[in-house]
Symmetry: C2
Subunit: 159 residues, 2 copies
């Protein structure tokens, strides 16, 4: 079985897959008479032919080592996940290789950090670590087939 | 000066202004082989002639009693606020009265509860209570004037 090591997420390494939802070093602008920083448009919602919606996902936890054999993608829209709880979580993504997922990468995401996956990005199912957790999700609804799932050879993520 | 009392938020009382971003009593459906609840489309992003974006606002706190003399609205898009921190916050809204704000209502919102304001809803500036806080914000960008501010006779919110 293929084994990969979870690596700390960074905006640079994650850029091919999407954006991090964290404040920038410098706010875009101050609002509310200087009392509030706006870190503007960290991500734009992709919603080809549909609408952007806000949902909550409540997921049972995974723990490391964690094995998976399925990846999925949403060709018609981006999908943002923001963790509501105090725990780190895992974002598994893979580059596209001629319509199939290439070698997966497992990013360890700290508490308080969200991500936005670009439309069509291969990713694993939601994996909070160690404890169940709620995530605020911003994605797309509308006509069309927006889910593609692919079985892959099993991969294990090590701590 | 007009004085109003902060009241606990409820989905029913907030309905004329927008939606609460909290899990429903029963999830819309189970995903990920039964390991994850999806509470689907708690809110739909309104973004007339524009796009939905995800931002972070980092605001200095207010404390009760809190006085304000300004309300604003965004006619071209909804605006969702999800608190990232462990503290309660205040959502001040007002019904529309012929293009001007009517009598304001101050809702006390617990930690872990977000709101989505419908397009055109009169509201106060962001008011985390007692400690500075970050909020995940989903709203609209695009052409057109999407901010209307109105000075009102001062109102004080009491605990």
């Amino acid at each position: 079985m293929t084994s990969i090591k979870a690596r700390p997420i960074s905006a640079e390494e994650f850029a091919p897959f999407g954006e991090l939802l964290i404040p920038r070093d410098v706010p875009t602008r101050m609002i509310n008479e200087g009392r509030c920083e706006r870190h503007h448009a960290l991500a734009t919602v992709e919603r080809f032919g549909g609408e952007a919606i806000i949902s909550i996902l409540r997921s049972e936890p995974a723990s490391l080592p964690y094995s998976f054999a399925l990846l999925e993608r949403h060709p018609l829209g981006s999908q943002a996940f923001y963790p509501m709880g105090p725990d780190a979580w895992l974002s598994i993504v893979a580059p596209d290789d001629n319509g199939k997922p290439g070698a997966p990468i497992a990013f360890l995401v700290p508490a308080g950090v969200g991500i936005n996956l670009h439309a069509g990005t291969w990713h694993g199912v939601l994996t909070p670590l160690d404890r169940a957790a709620d995530f605020l999700v911003v994605d797309r609804t509308g006509e069309g087939v927006n889910l593609e799932e692919v079985a892959i050879a099993p991969v294990t993520v090590q701590a």
